[in-house]
Symmetry: C2
Subunit: 238 residues, 2 copies
Amino acid sequence: MEKLRTCTAWRNNVNCLACDGRENSFFAGISPNAVATLHLDVDNTGFPSDSILYQSGTRAESLWILRTGVVKLIASSWDGEPRIIRILKPGDVAGIEGLLAGQYAHTAITVGTVHACRAPIKAIRQVCLEHAGFQWSLMQKWQSALSETEQWLVDMTSTGASARVRMARLLLLLRDRESNRIHNFSREDLGLMLGTTIETASRIIASFLRERLLVRREADQRFYDADIVRLEMIAQGH
Amino acid sequence: MEKLRTCTAWRNNVNCLACDGRENSFFAGISPNAVATLHLDVDNTGFPSDSILYQSGTRAESLWILRTGVVKLIASSWDGEPRIIRILKPGDVAGIEGLLAGQYAHTAITVGTVHACRAPIKAIRQVCLEHAGFQWSLMQKWQSALSETEQWLVDMTSTGASARVRMARLLLLLRDRESNRIHNFSREDLGLMLGTTIETASRIIASFLRERLLVRREADQRFYDADIVRLEMIAQGH
DNA sequence: CGATATGTTGAAAAAAGTCAATGGCAGTGG
DNA sequence: CCACTGCCATTGACTTTTTTCAACATATCG
């Protein structure tokens, strides 16, 4: 959980306007002028791989707006078994549930290095009261979290679909849409997302590699290149 | 989709204040006086079993606040297979995603007879603009939908947990917390919730009935009485 | 009464889990 | 430098669970 870097240029929000270009920005819904005057201390910090951003059940003091990298959200089932319930990508917000509940509902852990803007929840609540348009854009964050979770539920759960089909669907969701590359998640993480054992996940990935549906990147072994078209065929059930 | 009853007493919102006693009410966040003056046409209508409230992908004109009964939300997976992704109970809101997206993300079908208040989305949007506190309570609706969906994802998906264990967890979530009774869902619906075949669902329920974990109600065959304690033991994995 | 939909049950096949062994790679310390 | 260790991924053999296919029961409704 060691802080790698703190970019003070981001203090006083002089650059918050640039954040993802307004439309997708966390502060969409607030006029540019208003953003600049917000009394908000925002850190843009870097985290090494496997940093714990926050833990389930602890008091929520901050939320994080992801700028680069990937974060996994982990929840525990009835019997305490962990499960990865969502993967956050740039633009997503981690810990947003703390705004309402006052505590975190998941444990958030970085996958690879991550840069994120941390914002204190107290201040965000204040912004909510003062700017109705901001609440509207928060609702959109909630809606997109909901629809992504629903998609996982529908696509990655048993009936009819074999583990192989579900793995193909998962990989397609995990891919970076610009570069078509896919982060090389550990077999354990893949199992936690799909609800299978490590062995099953390993067998399927090994088979995808043999069939050259996935290819390890020469330059950076932490990523695969994917044959999207063939993956999509498998995802449909063939 | 035939309308059973329209209660005109609810027009002009004279009774909206009473709706679930303020706290859980849809209009929590708005002062009682303000609610009374809202320019909102709200129908409190009854629906017979298997009514379609709305269909996925169609233009969203209304949302429904559930007063009695149960509604199932159905989404389609990659290959078009349907899946029940959530069950709405009294106090829940159906079609809320239409507020942002302009169209429905699921198909909503009543399970048994249902009473719900229909509110036009256009008017709700207007209320959003005028009452910041209302947006706050909408966010809570979104958060509760999200956390329920996450719970389904964690508890009702394969790894480690057999179909028998997952069925026990599902039944516990479906139960009415006051009366401990559980709606007798069709085997097909149970399969669509759990991600199993109809046969597997049937075998498990039959076995629960033999073991008297579930007992059909004499008075009303549409419900089971459940042995909660033993169901919880099974849900934990024994 | 037959017709259709829904639920139950059995037997065989397929899928995934479990257990165990092996291989590769990175880091450590002699 | 090299042996040693720990961690992760892979693979095989066997077991368990679930699906599939099929038959049969039960109920409702004209």
